[in-house]
């Protein structure tokens, strides 16, 4: 079983704070981590490999420091890491990202299963997985919370719906995006982390030319959407005190909820 896992390096948003004066994000000192959902994707891939054999390849698109995400994934036990790194990849929306990842998967070739994290904590879009599946013209199952069965031919999974879950069977090759409910990710081994830093570690870096893509197809230039403005939502505490009988305060509070469109 040849498995590809997509890995994104993200700032640890749990550590991100807002500057109370300027309202800007304080990114200084915020660590870069493997996107939490992607850890679950890696764990799922490793568990399947442990059962069926084969190999797990991790692909990560990012700047040079994203090498740390690849190294950590090797510490977790993936067989090979590929860093997609090119100045022209920068600023990609999900359209350009799924294209770039898609070309990388094609270059890897012969892949039975692609596992992606459900979504990234910086963008929260959950779009790259399905877009990658469409690019590769293979079926997708998103919101996967349990893998019941995996063979060389098919998988049976439980995926979450708004109301509960569905059990779905799907032939391979396929792409799944996984939720944190799926598994408990392991921690990287120290000896493997050390090996991942050595020259002969199984890491490759591929640029735009290696993928055979044009500058106009990737990154900001290849994107179809553009961010035109960013701003921090105001987080000031209002400090309104509602007094009176319980009936009155509840009535006042309901009014506040309605006026602020909070329910």
């Amino acid at each position: 079983m040849q498995i590809v896992v997509t890995i994104k390096q993200v700032p640890d948003t749990a550590e991100i704070r807002i500057d109370p004066k300027t309202g800007n994000l304080i990114r200084e000192g915020v660590e870069s981590i493997i996107n939490p959902d992607d850890r679950h994707a890696i764990e799922a891939a490793l568990q399947i490999r442990e059962k069926l054999g084969g190999s797990v390849t991790g692909i990560c698109m990012g700047p040079p420091q994203a090498i740390d995400a690849i190294s950590e994934a090797l510490g977790l036990g993936i067989d090979k890491g590929i860093l997609l790194m090119d100045n022209y990849f920068a600023g990609a929306d999900t359209w350009a990202t799924s294209f770039t990842l898609g070309r990388a998967v094609e270059k890897i070739g012969d892949c039975d299963l692609i596992i992606c994290g459900h979504q990234a904590i910086d963008g929260d879009t959950a779009q790259v997985g399905p877009q990658l599946a469409e690019y590769l013209n293979i079926p997708q199952i998103t919101y996967v919370k349990d893998i019941e069965e995996a063979t060389d031919k098919k998988i049976v999974v439980k995926c979450m719906t708004d109301k509960g879950y569905e059990r779905i069977e799907c032939p391979l090759p396929a792409l799944i995006t996984v939720m944190r409910q799926l598994n408990e990710p392991r921690f990287p081994r120290f000896d493997w982390l050390i090996n991942a830093c050595r020259e002969k570690a199984p890491i490759e870096t591929w640029n735009a030319a290696d993928l055979g893509v044009k500058a106009s197809q990737v990154g900001l230039q290849g994107s179809l959407t553009n961010v035109i403005n960013t701003f921090s939502p105001k987080f000031e505490r209002r400090g309104e005190i509602l007094e009176g009988t319980a009936e009155k305060t509840v009535k006042d509070f309901m009014k506040i909820l309605e006026e602020n469109k909070l329910i």
Binding site: E31, I33, P64, I67, D68, I70, S71, E72, G75, L83, M85, F187, P188, R189, F190, D191, W192, L193, I194, N195, A196, C197, R198, E199, A201, I203, T205
Partner: protein, 378 residues
């Protein structure tokens, strides 16, 4: 070729492991005076116990610097766990690597890497403390065996370790040396366990040897020059201990800084008050100086891979005393909460204090520095 910086990667990955697996339980282990054996199992599973063991015995063959990086991060969450690991990384197994025969190495080193053979380092004795020259535990030569008699006290992991590295005196040549004593040895028993103020997860106990017969291949050092070799190894272990103090101090400082921004008095955060700012500034300065001393000692390999006595002693004395100061001020910043067990501040202080005793009291090191200075040419 693009590769990660190994030190930075180890630091980050250790820190994340520690935050999720060790930090949440440290308070419980402390309250229950519980030796957290599960940590050693996890360290073995993660290949950490082999950090400094040569590759041919299944390790990673790394040096003191990597061990110091890892220990500092672990000590931020639980200093006992860090000390226990330190003994495995920087102490007893290094004696085996350097002074055992090939057969013993092949038996014990892979076993350490897999967590099947954990070590203690049995130095301190009830009557003479950690003063090596006055050791009373005695090994008598009897054919192909050494027969060991004596008592050790306050031995970290005494009740858990599978192999004890025992410092002792040999009766035939009156030399100070050491050998390996396996816990199954007849006549060996674990004595009373210590009830320390802090570092309560060390599993610290007395060890009692009554006519223990140790086969000759378990000998490590004996005869002239042995003491010097042991002291050189201690230069390394000292830096390991210093990194643990550094970790405790770092955690205490970070908590105090966070709290001083969160806690308000008359509508202003604590950190807005100059009196508090000065305290924090002094803590930051001490911490920075500790870091430099510890890391420069960890990178110093001029004595066959080990730092020299002055550098390592200075690092340990300064950082263990600095940690007490920092933990104490950090506790003060928390006010009454600092004194409460609900916050970790009081534990940091207890741990910091303990680090001045673990592996030999720091005052002995002052003696060593004093004697070094008195001999030094100006």
């Amino acid at each position: 070729m693009l590769r990660s910086n190994v030190e930075e990667l180890l630091k980050q990955c250790t820190s994340r492991f520690v935050k999720s697996q060790i930090m949440p339980q440290a308070r419980k282990w402390d309250e229950n005076k519980q030796y957290p054996l599960e940590n050693m199992k996890k360290f073995a599973e993660l290949g950490l116990l082999g950090l400094r063991i040569p590759k041919k015995y299944g390790g990673s063959g790394r040096g003191l610097l990597d061990a110091v990086i890892v220990l500092e991060q672990i000590a931020k969450a639980d200093a006992s766990t860090a000390v226990n690991l330190h003994v495995q990384l920087n102490a007893s197994p290094l004696f085996v690597m350097l002074y055992s025969g090939e057969e013993v190495k092949r038996k014990l080193l892979p076993a350490l890497v897999s967590g099947k053979a954990l070590f203690s380092m049995a130095q301190t004795e009830p009557e003479v403390g950690s003063n090596l020259t006055e050791l009373r535990t005695l090994a008598r030569v009897e054919g192909s065996y050494y027969v060991v008699n004596g008592t050790k006290t306050m031995i970290t992991m005494g009740s858990i370790a599978h192999v004890h590295l025992v410092y002792l005196r040999f009766d035939d040549d009156n030399s100070i040396g050491c050998l390996l004593l396996e816990k199954e040895t007849k006549g060996f028993s674990v004595g009373k366990s210590e009830n320390f103020l802090g570092l309560r997860g060390l599993g610290s106990t007395e060890l009692v040897f009554q006519d223990c017969r140790v086969p000759k291949e378990n000998l490590l050092l004996k005869g002239p020059g042995s003491l010097r070799k042991m002291l050189t190894l201690f230069n390394g272990t000292r830096v390991g201990l210093a990194s643990i103090s550094l970790g405790i101090a770092g955690a205490a400082f970070e908590e105090a800084l966070k709290y001083s921004k969160l806690r308000t008095i008359s509508g202003k955060p604590l950190i807005a008050f100059q009196g508090l700012q000065w305290k924090l500034a002094d803590m930051a300065i001490t911490l920075e100086a500790m870091k430099h001393l510890v890391y420069s000692a960890a990178k110093d390999t001029k004595l066959n891979g080990f730092p020299d006595q002055f550098t390592s002693s200075a690092a340990r004395i300064f950082s263990s005393e600095g940690a007490i100061k920092i933990a104490n001020t950090a506790l003060d910043i928390f006010g009454g909460y600092g004194y409460s067990k609900e916050f970790p501040m009081e534990r940091y202080l207890r741990e910091a204090k303990g680090m001045t005793f673990v592996g030999g009291t720091i005052d002995v090191l002052r003696n060593a520095i004093g004697s070094y200075l008195s001999k030094k040419n100006m």
